[in-house]
């Protein structure tokens, strides 16, 4: 149980600049979104919305996965980072609401609604997609919350009062006698269930919201590719978050260089896993040379206007991090790792565009990518920042690490 009670007076995480800045980003995103919606670019607006929704939800889902996996494997090195990773899960309720809003744009987002699908229409119709994806997200986020509820019973200082949510949690925890062993067992159970749900729900979301945009194309690895990519992105954001907390003197969060090194190694590993899953799909489709399958890949990697984007994504999200992360010293430096992660995240945002864009703009002459998409993306980022900062504000113990001993 955490015993530290007193923290610096006043909000450390939710400083006025942070809140103001984040809300500014959200505001700008909203402005651009509505301008585009009311104008001729409503398709683009919804496309950008979908891409950003998928991106930031993946980050949140992957962030909690990090904590769950660290718990299940009882890995010691990840314990200090687990708190920061769990804060990313603060985006879950936001993501859930955003998902409902996503369906307001279903005319723009689901090309299969206007296509002849045959038997597949039983699976791909707006109502089914909405119901099952809502259910999936509900289950996933519910299990995640269950995991956090049990895990935080030990981590948080129950006696510090900080707002309504914390009071609610306190009441729930005090309501029944907390048997440490049973709670620990339940934490592990929820963690395992969350991991299983992560694989299933993220695959489902990938099949329904990304793969189905080209309803006659399919790839069995697509679901797994999506959830592996989500974890890769989450690690990138976690590196940036951990570096920010570490470099902020007002926060009692300090990591040893070896912990940054470990996080960097994990990031490197998932860079390879993501690239491997991409290659697995590419080699099978390329080699089989079946036109039903290759059309999707050709459109995205060989045809204009998407070809340069494909090479850019490959370089930024794989080649550059691969070469840089071979070096041992870089992995231990928070500053350089944050820069590299930001770069990689940019590449992965563009990767989402590469997958979704051609399906929603089949006859594009030029890349449907511009300031509009960028601002909407940043607007979502503002929401993420607000969500994460709120979590730290209510549960500041998550941003604490023990004083390091050893290298």
């Amino acid at each position: 149980m955490n015993e530290t009670a007193q923290h610096t007076a006043g909000p450390v995480f939710f400083t006025r600049t942070l809140a103001g800045g984040a809300m500014g980003l959200v505001g700008m995103g909203l402005v651009f979104f509505f301008i585009a919606l009311s104008g001729t670019q409503s398709d683009r607006a919804w496309q950008a919305y979908l891409i950003s929704f998928l991106f930031w939800s993946s980050v949140a889902q992957g962030g909690l996965l990090f904590s769950a996996v660290m718990h299940i494997t009882r890995a010691r090195w990840g314990r200090s980072l687990a708190g920061a990773a769990e804060a990313l899960a603060g985006f879950f309720p936001v993501s859930f609401v955003l998902f409902f809003i996503l369906f307001l744009g279903h005319h723009h987002l689901f090309p299969w609604a206007h296509m002849e699908l045959g038997e597949k229409a039983g699976w791909l119709n707006t109502k089914s997609v909405f119901i099952r994806d809502t259910a999936g997200l509900f289950i996933l986020y519910g299990l995640g919350t269950g995991y956090l509820f049990h895990s935080w019973a030990f981590r948080l200082n129950r006696h510090a009062e900080r707002g309504r949510l914390k009071t609610l949690f306190n009441r729930l925890w005090s309501g029944r006698p907390v048997d440490p062993d049973r709670f620990r067992g339940r934490t592990t159970l929820f963690a395992v269930l969350y991991v299983i749900a992560y694989a299933l729900v993220l695959s489902l979301i990938a099949y329904d919201l990304v793969m189905a945009l080209d309803p006659h194309w399919y790839s069995t690895l697509f679901g797994a590719y999506h959830f592996v990519k989500a974890f890769y992105m989450a690690l990138g954001v976690l590196i940036i978050l951990a570096s920010l907390l570490h470099m902020n003197p007002a926060v009692p969060f300090a990591l040893r260089p070896s912990q940054f090194h470990d996080l960097g190694k994990l990031f490197f590993a998932f860079c390879l896993v993501w690239a491997d899953f991409f290659y697995c799909q590419l080699v099978v489709i390329w080699y089989g040379n079946i036109s039903e399958e290759t059309a999707y890949v050709i459109q995205r990697t060989l045809a204009a206007p998407w070809r340069p984007l494909a090479w850019f994504v490959f370089t930024v999200a794989f080649v550059i991090p691969f070469l840089i992360l071979l070096n041992r010293r870089i992995k231990s430096s928070p500053k350089w790792m944050s820069l590299l992660s930001a770069f990689v995240l940019l590449g992965l945002w563009l990767e989402h565009t590469l997958l979704i864009g051609p399906a929603l703009n089949p006859h594009a002459r030029s890349l449907p990518l511009g300031i509009l998409d960028g601002f909407i993306f940043i607007g979502f980022m503002g929401l993420m920042i607000l969500a994460t900062a709120s979590v730290f504000h209510v549960f500041p113990e998550l941003a604490e690490t023990r004083i390091p001993e050893g290298p």
């Binding site: 045959g118 399919y218 797994a224 491997d276 099978v284 080699y287 079946i290």
Partner: protein, 442 residues
């Protein structure tokens, strides 16, 4: 970890392991003899096949790949888990692997050896292997490096060489221990084998670095080798084979079967050699937990394949996935599903994870299930592909069963010889567990 080896000292570890290298009992040599008979049966069947032709095996039109490929994939799969334990868990600093790392790595080397025989066997006319090797020749004939079969040649040879080097390098400090505690001819042999290792700090400095690189290189190798093996199937257009999920699915399945084989080997080993305090029940429990994980991945892959087969609305694809659970080979299919995905779920209960009979039975069932998985994938897809007029059945012949018996005998023969002549537990890594947390300098 419930039992920690804190009650060990460096000397007790050495004594326990070195005691296993003492001269063997008659029952040991009888076991070796029995296994040698199995090998001879297999060799006899193979010789018969070389003399009479590949037709004595059951492969024909349309099922041209049968037990030889099944066994090939099966043994390569088993090999992967050994590298997972010795290399990947080393990178993750999971010290629970230390007691079993040596035996697991040995399992890898021998499994790859056995696996590597099967492409030869499958050639029928084994001398034709010459044409698969890039040897410069006057006719300027070269292999088609675009073929997945050539990828196999490269990948399996690489895996065999790398695993052997990794295995030997890992054993160096232990070979020195045996050298220092033995006399006479044994001392001479181990002196030569241990290359003059003295444990000087300079040697350790380079050694720990090189071992880390070995582990870091073996990890992508494991994933790539079984991906390459899976692409033997996935790169063709055969329905049920041509699917993108094969590479990670096969890797997960390989580790699943390999972990089960680790249990199958370790449980009798620890009983016979009195290793209970070294290979503790906690270690076996961790293997069991990992089996749950790999079993879930395999289950996910099965589910995804069925879902996408329906989603694709491709009549040929849908037929293959209807045929598998309900067709002529349905028994194999259901054995596969039950043994691979349902049986390991029992390990969610701690009592099952710590019960030796359950651990052992589950390990056997998982291996049976994984063998049948390769059977289902290979045979059902090829027996019913595009043209109904070309559909046909397959059954292995006695030659194939004999060779299969020979392969299992060869594997266990090599392993049984190993455990009595070389240290089957890494004394060095066990000692490292006493001091710090990791193995070999982590």
């Amino acid at each position: 970890m419930s039992e920690d080896p804190q009650h060990h000292t460096f000397d007790t570890i050495d004594d326990s392991v070195l005691a296993t290298l003492a001269p063997a009992s008659p029952s040991y040599w009888m076991t070796v003899g029995l296994l040698a008979c199995g090998i001879l049966i297999g060799a006899g069947c193979w010789a018969y096949q070389i003399a009479e032709g590949i037709g004595v095996a059951g492969m024909n039109n349309p099922v041209a790949w049968g037990t030889y490929l099944i066994n090939f994939v099966f043994w390569v799969g088993i090999a992967h888990s050994g590298t997972l334990i010795s290399a990947i868990l080393h990178l993750m600093r999971a010290s629970w692997r230390n007691p079993i790392a040596r035996a697991a790595e040995t399992m890898t080397v021998f499994a790859v050896c056995v696996a590597g025989l099967f492409p030869f066997i499958h050639l029928g006319r084994v001398w034709m292997v010459y044409y698969m090797l890039p040897v410069p020749n006057q006719r300027n004939l070269w292999q088609n490096f675009q073929s997945p079969l050539m990828f196999d040649v490269v990948a399996i040879s690489t895996y065999l060489i790398v695993s052997s080097l990794f295995w030997y390098t890992g054993m160096l400090p232990d070979l020195a221990v045996v050298r220092d505690r033995s006399n006479g001819r044994k001392k001479k042999i181990f002196t030569w084998l241990s290359l003059g290792w003295t444990g000087a700090h300079e040697q350790w400095r380079h050694y720990t670095r090189a071992y880390l690189f070995f582990a870091a290189l073996a990890t992508p190798l494991v994933i790539s080798v079984h991906s390459v093996v899976s692409w033997d199937f996935a790169l063709g257009v055969v329905p049920g084979w041509h699917t993108t999920i094969f590479a990670p699915y096969f890797v997960a399945g390989a580790i699943h079967s390999g972990l089960a084989m680790v249990l199958t080997l370790m449980i009798p080993l620890r009983k016979i050699f009195c290793y209970e305090r070294i290979i503790t029940i906690g270690v076996l429990e961790n293997v069991a937990k990992t089996i749950i994980f790999t079993g879930l991945i395999v289950a996910f892959a099965y589910g995804t394949e069925f879902f996408i087969a329906w989603y694709s609305q491709n009549p040929v694809e849908m037929e293959v996935f209807r045929y598998r659970p309900t067709g002529h080979y349905a028994a194999g299919f259901w054995i596969m599903v039950v043994c691979n995905t349902l049986v390991p779920l029992v390990f969610f209960f701690q009592r099952a994870r710590r019960s030796l009979p359950i651990l052992f039975s589950v390990s056997i069932l998982v291996n049976v299930g994984m063998w049948f998985e390769r059977f289902v994938i290979i045979v059902t897809s090829v027996s019913r592909d595009f043209i109904p007029h070309a559909w046909g059945r397959y059954a292995p012949t006695w030659v194939e069963f004999g060779i299969m018996l020979g392969s299992f005998s060869l594997f266990f023969f090599l392993f049984v010889l190993f455990v009595k002549h070389l240290p089957s537990v890494s004394m060095t890594e066990m000692k490292e567990m006493l001091g710090q947390g990791g193995g070999h300098g982590q």
